[in-house]
Amino acid sequence: MDLVRALKAIRRSIWVYHLNSGSCNACDIEVLDALTPYFDVERFGIKLVGSPRHADVVLFTGPVTRESLPKVVRALKAMPRPRLLLVLGSCGVGGGIWWDTYATTGGFSKLEEILREQGVEVDRVVYVPGCPVRPEAIIYGVLVLLGLAEQKVREVEVHAPGG
């Protein structure tokens, strides 16, 4: 499969599928908020679809609870390549306040390892922190995912002046 060409073809209107892996619903409400006429992502051609088989991008929320893990893997397996993921909220990105509990896998980084073990490849991931994410942050995340906007955050390391 020509992945590079497929990734280029994603310049058309993208269809998104909303996948909740046990989030508190705050991020899900913000996703709906982004779809309302107030933020209106349909002006970019972004459309919510009901099945991962129709989707270009998955809007992934939640810290991946143990109960949702097999369903999440099945939903992502059903997605056509290229698989693009927008990981929303602190829960999805780093596990949030549930990052080290027994009931969750602790965010997308751990899920990625499980997916790799099961042979499910993810082609591009963009992490969008926020608790919950703002609708504007979701729009900005989509722009970064499609390469239309520059990423603003960079890794910083500063030395403090000694006592």
Binding site: P37, Y38, F39, D40, R43, S90, V93, G94, G95, G96, I97, W99, D100, G107, S109, R124, V125, V126, Y127, V128, P129, G130, C131, R134, P135, E136, A137, I139, Y140, G141, L143, V144, L145, A149, Q151, K152, V153, R154, E155, V156, E157, V158, H159, A160, P161, G162, G163
Partner: protein, 170 residues
Amino acid sequence: MSLVKILEIALRTGRVTRRYPVEEPLLTSEFRGSIEVDPSKCWGCGACTKVCPPNALTLAPSGKGLVLEYFVGRCVFCGMCAEVCPAKAITVTKKFELASANLRDLRSRVVHEVARCSFCGAPIAAEAELGAVVKATPVAEEYATLCPRCRKGRFARSVALRMGVGGGPS
């Protein structure tokens, strides 16, 4: 509702959509975005790491020194770190455009020099914290530069000497 009526409402309301990437985002005065740590003010005391609900802020020794790491990917933007910071080094900004293609870019670090015990050489705390403590409280300099264990030992020995027991173990 008839189409004419819907049209009338739509015309009366006008455009409500915010053209976000072109227009300014809707940020209220109460909005809390990512935090910023001022390295020139930070003591490296770790009060923020104790209060942080998801442990987005961590203070841990590494090869370079005492490292205060902020992982914005796990931050819940509660602002408690800014409230609790004794040095007022943490400010809550209004930054929300934090999307990143990898997790590495979501981390920021402040590296502190480690102060060592003048007697046994064990690490005590960050240099900056020691300086701030000495400035704020009348602790004798020689005690401030000792690790808790050596401080205890020295105190016990001085009490023992006063009671006439003798030198005792150091």
